[in-house]
Amino acid sequence: MRKTKNPLSRTRQPLLPPAARSTDAHLLTAAAAKGRFALPCCTGCGRFAWPIPAVCPDCLSEMELRDVAADGHLIAATTAEVPADRYFRERAPWRVGFVQLGCGPQALVHLHPAAQPGDALRLTLMLDRAGQAVLHAGPQGGDMTTDPQWQHMTADPRGRQVLITDARHIAALSLAEALVKAGAVAIYAGVPEIWKPLPQRAALVSVPGLSLHPLDLTSDRSVADLARDIGGKVEILINTADLPRPGGLNGPAAQTDARAAMETVAFGLMRLARSFGPPMAARGADGPLGAVAWVNVLSVFARVHAPGLAGYAAAHAAALALSHALRAELAQGGVRLMTVLTGPTEDDWFQTFDLPKVTGKALGDAVLGGLQRGLEEVTVGDMARDLLQRLSENPKAVERAFAAGLM
């Protein structure tokens, strides 16, 4: 267990690495957010180029982002002992390298301390604390997590305190177990309507470092009360709030269910954002670790609006929309917002849905993996991945298929 912070010592203010980028560079941001490795490639001659040129330097055709093997070797390495920017100055010396990429061009990268000139490297496209895409490289086959610079850019739960907002969620127990196994030092688990039976209570409280706390996301007071108790400690917040109530527009309880889902999923997020957002953003550089990530576990139906889940999908869509505002606020403190879109889970409410469904363990592992890699967008389950792929390729086909009851 880590030492308690001296309350008299000053909280280090969060600084961010340089965030200015060209518009085109944000193509990389989208890839990094999903954990893809992709670089600018010419649509004409197929050559890769770096940094992103206006047009292909070989044939002047348009450039696009294309997935490519993430390998290379180190040409030269140095450490910036006296960086010009305050973020890096605070963390100097900062190690960088010049890499010959396997796909052709050369790139400046954040470099693992073990990599030496001539070494074969594995590259990763990551989001830095400013939320911008950057390249990291480390020895091929090496453990990247031993690089402190890598860890600056991930949201690793190791040594951190985590709030899971709804312990009744199907993934809550698996998630808590996975987080503790990954080194989280405290898990605060919120329990809505705590007087009701909690079937997994015994299993939950046996997770080392886990404590249960009453938390009703539909109540301003409940959220504010918990924030007063632990708001200054939470370094990763995982919002698992959900209220699955399938049904179309015209069911007898359609409006009641939609309103309830909105209250929990969308307004609940707003309540959390108001009470936990500012203290987390303020603690982005507090102590050796600091607040690092906020995770919203949402349904893939936030993006794909199935008629049979009218109100439910709307509530999740609202929460997804609110996430973007929250992301911008948290970003000021270098705190990342990760959206996890999951397919239907293995619980009673999705009983009639087609297989395969997402288990609590699969969802928990996906959240942990996303944090450890520092992602912003995670999709869980084959159905969710399939739906989003179809949506990006042909959105009207998805809409019509749902209308015809084919999906």
Binding site: P18, T78, P83, Y87, L108
Partner: protein, 388 residues
């Protein structure tokens, strides 16, 4: 090879340095104005008599040269704006020389000036180039020190150069600077000082780095007949080369564009490579000066360690180099760094270099180098100047 046409009848005159200061509250426009006044005084003309104005600067924004014409009440018929860093001197000289030769201008004022505030260095790094913004500055924000450290490491590995070889250049320049009242660096530099200096981005250490400052450098380009009519001492331009992004397929910069055009340079000059009395290289880092010695034909890359050890680069030595102290010891006034060597060579060849005058200086090699937009310096240029 391209048909070579000389710069017959074109001369340089009136070397002007507006003494550098570490930080200035004056804008770059003011520094250009002081340099212009120096040129007018030195030429015995009104600045309104200059019908060409060529300005190199990074910190003039939002102005360019055209806006300066109103600042200075000039009505030129030739304008040039060169935010090209250390290659701007050679580029500006080449263009001005051709304009004068062709009759598009009679007298071109070539001025480089930049101001410097405590925040200037970081601000200019943040927006130096789009490539730098996307792919360099976010990686530790070490600026040119980091970019050149990576090049230096590869170059030293390829040539066998060591830090103690490179030290000879920095130490000799400091000795030269002690004879220059305008140099910002006033303390002698020993081998021990150089070797034990603080690391900035290994293998770059403190005395490999220039000190950013405010200042201006300037000279006039005109026809020989004009100079004679005004009674101005002058030097002739006998050769000039310029090249940008010379070797795009080199993975890392082990040579500059000089290597591509070195044959042209010495053929135009009509002398054997290196047959000069003094050399002014672009010394943003001393190892870059070493690279220029090899690329400009004074030695081979493999012969560099021996070359650096066997020559005396002070003003009284066998190969006087960066006789003012260069940017390393005078200071780097932004874009003026590329004009510093030209103005110093002009001064040496007309014999007005004072305490640091190289005895019998008749011919000088001056090179320029500029703009590390991403991983390598893009611009390279060189000229040969001869005393009248």
């Amino acid at each position: 090879m391209t048909q070579l046409r000389g710069y017959d009848g074109v001369v340089l005159a009136v070397p002007v340095t507006v003494p550098y200061v570490r930080h200035s509250t004056r804008p770059a426009q003011w520094w250009v104005g002081r340099a212009l006044a120096g040129l007018a005084k030195g030429a015995g003309l009104s600045h309104r008599d200059f019908d060409g104005l060529s300005v190199a600067s990074f910190s003039l924004a939002p102005d360019t040269t055209i806006g300066l014409t109103q600042h200075f009440g000039m009505s030129p018929r030739f304008l040039d704006f060169l935010p090209l860093g250390g290659v701007a001197g050679v580029v500006g000289l080449r263009r001005a020389a051709r304009a004068v030769q062709a009759g598009d201008a009679d007298v071109v004022a070539c001025i480089a000036a930049d101001t410097n505030t405590p925040q200037s260095f970081r601000q200019s790094l943040e927006q130096f180039s789009r490539f730098s913004q996307d792919a360099v500055y976010p990686y530790g924000s070490g600026g040119p020190n980091v970019s050149f450290a990576l090049i230096a490491q590869a170059f030293m590995a390829a040539t066998g150069l060591t830090r103690s070889d490179i030290a000879h250049l920095a130490i000799a320049q400091r000795a030269n600077a002690l004879r220059n009242p305008d140099a910002l660096m006033k303390k002698p530099l020993s081998m021990a000082d150089y070797m034990n200096a603080r690391a900035i981005a290994p293998p770059i250490h403190l005395f490999d780095c220039v000190m950013p400052c405010a200042g201006a450098e300037a000279f006039l380009v005109m026809r020989e007949a004009t100079a004679k009519a005004q009674g101005l001492p002058f030097v002739r331009l006998t050769a000039a080369i310029e090249r940008h992004n010379a070797y795009p397929s080199d993975p890392v910069m082990l040579r500059g564009g000089w290597a591509r055009d070195v044959g042209t340079l010495w053929a135009m000059a009509g002398v054997a490579p290196g047959a000069v009395d003094l050399v002014q290289t672009y010394d943003d880092y001393p190892f870059i000066s070493a690279m220029q010695f090899a690329d400009l034909g004074l030695c081979t890359p493999a012969g560099l360690p021996e070359f650096l050890r066997s020559h005396d680069f002070t003003v009284t030595g066998d190969l006087p180099h960066n006789t003012s102290g260069g940017q390393l010891s005078v200071g780097q006034a932004g874009c003026a760094g590329g004009h510093l060597g030209l103005v110093e060579a002009l001064r040496q060849l007309i014999g007005t270099a004072g305490d640091r005058q190289v005895t019998g200086a008749r011919r000088a090699l001056v090179s320029g180098f500029g703009m590390i937009a991403y991983d390598r310096g893009l611009g390279s240029g060189a000229v040969v100047l001869e005393a009248a």
